[in-house]
């Protein structure tokens, strides 16, 4: 049975797994204690639940529970990880290396650091969305304290070569931070095998609740420390003050456990659907996949349909299919996705892109419906597109002098 509307925006957020909600409920109603209350059973229960969740979270990424700092989400983790290292290691240097396709939570944090006297290098990516390892190594200076490169990209799903990146970081004694938001729970991430020193991630991208996340901070080889960004009661070993979100943390733990259990099977099923979706949509003329297809998350596809505009395209089916577009017609900026532009895509192709994020609850029927709806809308809009007509007449669109707009 086909279930509408279809949710294919799992890179933005995932629905909660009912098993996660079930685990959380008692911590709202019965075990509502503050995990920091040391003098009564309510506090003890809460603390015990947090400890258990910390183990579940740590296990998913191959970490020690003591290395998990609970946060409000990945944005906080990005801020705490990067600013925290910048402040803690100020005596060693002030240089950070990142990439142009990072999430805004990393880029804007780096910009903030530049404003307060830091030095940041933004690496370009190639047309596949990958950084050049030689460029990375060449960018390291005596003052470099941190490399901040995301594990997998939120718009194109491209997975960075973490092991190679960490080898370079280690060789030069530089710490490695990664934004693992899109990767953790979807593909195997192991902080030791991958050589990661700090990693931010969040529950709501892996079928857990919104408003809770974690920062992994390595404790051994090397022992890493971050300066707290919020002052208060000294929770989370002094790195993140604030009463713990116990139900959220319990849900996060459960979500991590489920991801670990289901990952192999989920990946097999979801990647098959993704590949089918992609193969069918690429049968349309002038349709292109953005970013590396080889080094990519199994549930993501970013496709440009030349000569139709993304938002106009979405309108053809967004009552029934939830998707996101790289076109910025919805925002006031009118600037299309900076990630797609960083791949070297022209603005026209960036404006013509759709991002598909499949998930645990996506079905084959939904994918069939999506293929049909999108193909039909693309064809209909191309009949309406002056650019498509010109393309069909053999006119090179780049030779036209467009009126400035």
């Amino acid at each position: 049975m086909l279930k509408l509307p279809i949710y294919l925006d799992n890179n933005a957020t995932t629905p909660m797994d009912p098993r996660v909600l079930e685990a959380m409920t008692p911590y709202f109603l019965e075990h509502y204690g503050n995990a920091a209350s040391r003098n009564h059973p309510f506090g003890w229960e809460a603390e015990e639940a947090v400890d258990y969740a910390r183990e579940q979270v740590a296990k998913l990424i191959g970490a020690d529970p003591k290395e998990i700092i609970f946060t409000s989400g990945a944005t906080e983790g990005d801020n705490l990880g990067i600013k925290g290292v910048y402040e803690m290691y100020a005596s060693k240097g002030n240089h950070i290396i990142t990439a142009t396709t990072e999430h805004k939570a990393v880029l804007d944090t780096c910009k903030h650091i530049e404003k307060i006297g830091g030095d940041v290098t933004y690496l370009q990516v190639n047309s596949e969305g990958l950084i050049d390892l030689k460029e990375l190594e060449a960018a390291i200076k005596p003052t470099t304290i941190l490399i901040a490169i995301m594990y997998a990209n939120n718009e194109i799903g491209v997975v960075m070569p973490m092991k190679e990146i960490s080898a370079i970081a280690r060789k030069h004694g530089v710490l490695l931070f990664t934004d693992g938001t899109q990767a953790v729970g979807k593909i195997p991430v192991d902080v030791n095998k991958d050589g990661i020193d700090l990693m931010a991630f969040t529950a709501h991208k892996m079928y857990g609740p919104k408003g809770v996340g974690a920062l992994y901070v390595r404790r051994k080889n090397p022992r890493v420390k971050v300066t707290a960004q919020m002052d208060g009661g000294g929770h989370e070993r002094g790195m993140r003050s604030g009463t713990l979100n116990v139900p959220g943390i319990v849900g996060f733990g459960k979500a991590c456990e489920l991801c670990m259990l289901d990952m192999e099977e989920d990946t097999k099923r979801i990647s098959k659907m993704r590949d089918h979706l992609e193969t069918e949509l690429l049968k349309l003329e002038e349709a292109y996949v953005n970013g590396s297809r080889e080094h990519r998350l199994p549930h993501v596809a970013n496709i440009s349909f030349k000569h139709v505009e993304g938002e106009g395209l979405l309108m053809g089916f967004n009552k029934n299919i939830a998707l996101s577009s790289g076109s910025a017609c919805t925002s006031a900026s009118l600037e299309p996705s900076y990630v797609l532009k960083a791949l070297g895509l022209g603005d026209d192709l960036a404006h013509s892109s759709l991002r598909f994020g499949l998930g645990r609850f996506t079905t084959d029927e939904q994918i069939e419906y999506t293929i049909k709806a999108i193909s039909e809308t693309v064809l209909k809009l191309r009949e309406m597109s002056p650019l498509w007509e010109m393309y069909k007449e053999g006119i090179d669109l780049s030779t036209i002098e467009w009126a400035a707009h």
Binding site: E309, G310, G312, M315, C329, T330, L334, D347, H351, S385
Partner: protein
């Protein structure tokens, strides 16, 4: 952001999509916008030389739903109008009719520009001087 019913209706059932013979003397073509900006409109008018009336209008648009609706509406309004009256179509009339939100006002501006460009193309083809227009305020 939700679209108005009128925008949705024009998007689903666009009026006057198509192409007129751009080499014909009594056809004026306006092509405005740029692919880089995410919208390109081509609007064409066919004029009865004897009466100066617009007998047909067609459009093709690359853009969001509001851009498609703005150009579809413009062609509807153009048909049966004199060229002089067509010049009086103001982008704010389109905004009002389609209930466009502020971020979509540029779509209506583009439609107004396309009308003016089509009329100028027609005028130049027929030995008249191109009209000068003030720069559009909103882009």
């Amino acid at each position: 952001m939700a679209y108005s019913e009128k925008v949705i209706d024009h998007y689903q059932n666009p009026k006057n999509v198509g192409t007129l013979d751009k080499s014909a003397k009594n056809v004026g073509t306006g092509l405005v916008g740029a692919p880089e900006c995410g919208d390109v409109m081509r609007l064409q008018i066919e004029v009865d030389d004897a009466t100066g009336m617009i007998t047909d209008a067609k459009f093709k648009t690359f853009g969001c739903g509001s851009a498609i609706a703005s150009s579809s509406l413009a062609t509807e309004w153009l048909k049966g109008k004199s060229v002089d009256d067509a010049l009086k179509i103001d982008n704010m009339d389109i905004v009002e009719e389609l209930n466009l939100p502020p971020v979509k006002i540029h779509c209506s501006v583009l439609a107004e520009d396309a009308i003016k460009a089509a009329i100028n193309d027609y005028r130049v083809k027929n030995g008249m001087e191109a009209l000068k227009f003030e720069e559009s305020v909103v882009h």
